[in-house]
Symmetry: C2
Subunit: 356 residues, 2 copies
């Protein structure tokens, strides 16, 4: 492709937010990346421009038929002032897998990587450097063609916006979360779109999430849509169980997202010599392991929180209290190992980081 | 509620499109309706304003998490110059059911009806009066809050846009369509959101639709997501089978849309004294009825095409040719009865139309 990225600098830079109250996804930087698609020119006109509102027809197809996908990754500031990305190639691969499933034309991976790198370079000063903070990178694609009718759009925008962020779960890191096992509402099913990052999956999850919160839980653990028996994933995390010294996680079955943190955890754990099983896991088996005292730790994995220890798992009338609702050693070690790589404090033996 | 709808008249009226080449969902009228929501004011500031682009933050939640719903109904011009809506109360009820499932605050049904009526009145001249044409009405709601994080938004826009339309399937009415029975990809599953009109359902359907088109078919017939055995619905139509003089349609099982045309057809057919069965229907049973020569007619029902006769149904290696691929008498009678009511040519004994 080899398209040159145009750069239009903003002449009104915003004030940076207070590092203590960053939150997640509330503040946006001064610039954004845009790439347009139409049938004649393909993906064209890559540019970094001031962060500003989008102007779209009320008939833009994204509003009506939800043809939209996204990604999420982070840039980290190291103690010696370098900027690192974590496995951006994996996000770009997944972006194009989401494109394929949602009938959106794929984008040259090299251009996407260059766009991320250039935009992060431009916004270097926005990367917060307090412990646990980072610059969240949100690439996304929306169908912009003004047309009412169900078919793939012929016009799209690919954009990247950046948000300096603190911890995902209201300022807490590695604090155990309470999880509600949802056995009525369903997120995804094989043959559907649960394995890609399309916007509708998240809208579909809101109702059960709200119900869980009303019952005093932080997140939902989804079960499979066919039998309501097998463990799938949590809101925006994959799920892991440590049982009797070995690690279990649901296999990629076509209805759960292929998390990049999940993949990293699997590689690390194997590297430590601990057996990892990717398989179909019934919630019943988890409960039995719990009853037998073999369920040592449960944790979620995702870009936002990295590792999120689970302190309580509620399934029907059963309440499983894990590790005295404290953060387990294994979760902690994983969190520290991964974040040390992300922040350039530990050797990156897998070659996961990319310096900007 | 009793909110007054403000009206700002456009000072640049567009030229009306040629009636011969209306198509579907390509042209939009001069005005649109907008209603805003925030937590403090609730739904507020109803207004009819010039049709113009929306200005939204790139972080508006609809782009990322797909919290969006819509409706579709039509206004018809009668021969004596009156304007009729068809069962708008049903669309408004369904709109609020979609809101509920998608965690969007509900809207006062009276205000929605008033908005539709007022907007159609303002755009009266846009209602085409050629046979088979109408003014398509598209109410929709999108999450506009600028925030990255999965939770229900705290800001929304409810809008109504209007499009003068011809026939949905490229200019043809009552021409039999060819339908591909999809047994790999899945649209919806009980516990999911298939029974409401949320944008993500349509994005999720594109891939199978594209596959069907590549194989020479017009539309997909979805099977259930649990067993891939039971008939659900077509792209944007419910499906009916006439077998041995009786009518069968899948029951509302939580994963198919409760079509307003479906409901009208059921009422009409019952009124004619023909038995109607709403039940779980396996594709195998349909094929057996076909083999036995008992499958008399198959047709889809929906606002866009009203009645869409099916000329061919393809299931795996089986090709079912229906009624010699011609429009059946029953489909035709239904089409004529319903459109005659819609266009004010026949007595409206069910009280379905509402004059604007
Ligand atoms: C549904 C879902 N599952 C899992 C994940 C975790 O994926 P990753 O580790 O790539 O952030 C995410 C977040 O991206 C997600 O949205
Ligand atoms: C998925 C789906 N099924 C069925 C229908 C038919 O519904 P109605 O008759 O209300 O137009 C539609 C169209 O609205 C639809 O989108």
């Amino acid at each position: 492709m080899n398209q040159v990225i145009e750069f239009i600098k903003s002449d009104r830079l915003k004030e940076k937010p207070d590092l203590e109250s960053l939150g997640f996804g509330k503040h946006f930087t001064d610039h954004m990346f845009i790439l347009d698609y139409n049938k004649v020119q393909g993906w064209h006109s890559p540019r970094i421009v001031p962060f500003e509102p989008l102007v779209l027809s009320p008939s833009a197809m994204v509003f009506h038929y939800g043809q939209a996908i996204f990604e999420g990754l982070k840039a980290y500031k190291t103690n010696d002032g370098r900027t690192l990305l974590f496995r951006p190639d994996k996000n770009i691969e997944r972006l194009n897998r989401s494109c394929e499933r949602m009938c959106i034309p794929p984008i040259d991976p090299d251009l996407v990587l260059e766009a991320i790198v250039r935009l992060v370079e431009v916004e270097r000063d926005w990367i917060p450097n307090k412990e646990g903070t980072s610059l969240y990178i949100r690439p996304f694609i929306i169908a912009t063609e003004p047309y009412l009718g169900v078919r793939p759009a012929s016009e799209y925008k690919f954009m990247i916006i950046l948000s300096p962020v603190g911890a995902y779960y209201s300022g807490r890191q590695l604090v155990p979360v309470k999880i509600y096992v949802e056995d009525e509402y369903v997120r995804a099913v094989p043959g559907g779109v649960g394995h890609v990052k399309t916007s509708g999956n998240y809208a579909a999850s809101l109702y059960a999430q709200k119900k869980a919160e009303e019952l005093g839980y932080d997140q939902v653990l989804w079960l499979d849509g066919k039998e309501n028996k097998y463990v799938e994933e949590v809101g925006s995390m994959n799920i892991f169980f440590k049982i009797n010294g070995e690690v279990y996680t649901p296999k990629l079955n076509g209805s759960i997202l292929s998390g990049i943190t999940r993949d990293s955890v699997i590689q690390l754990v194997k590297d430590w010599g601990v057996p990892v099983h990717e398989e179909r896991i019934s919630i019943e088996d988890i409960f039995n392991a719990y009853k037998n005292g073999e369920l040592e730790e449960v944790f979620g994995t995702g870009t936002a929180a990295v590792i999120s220890p689970v302190g309580e798992l509620k399934w029907n009338e059963h309440k499983m209290l894990l590790n005295n609702s404290e953060t387990g050693e294994f979760s902690k070690k994983l969190y520290e190992t991964i974040t040390n790589i992300q922040y350039g404090k530990a050797e990156d033996k897998f070659g996961w980081t990319k310096e900007v």
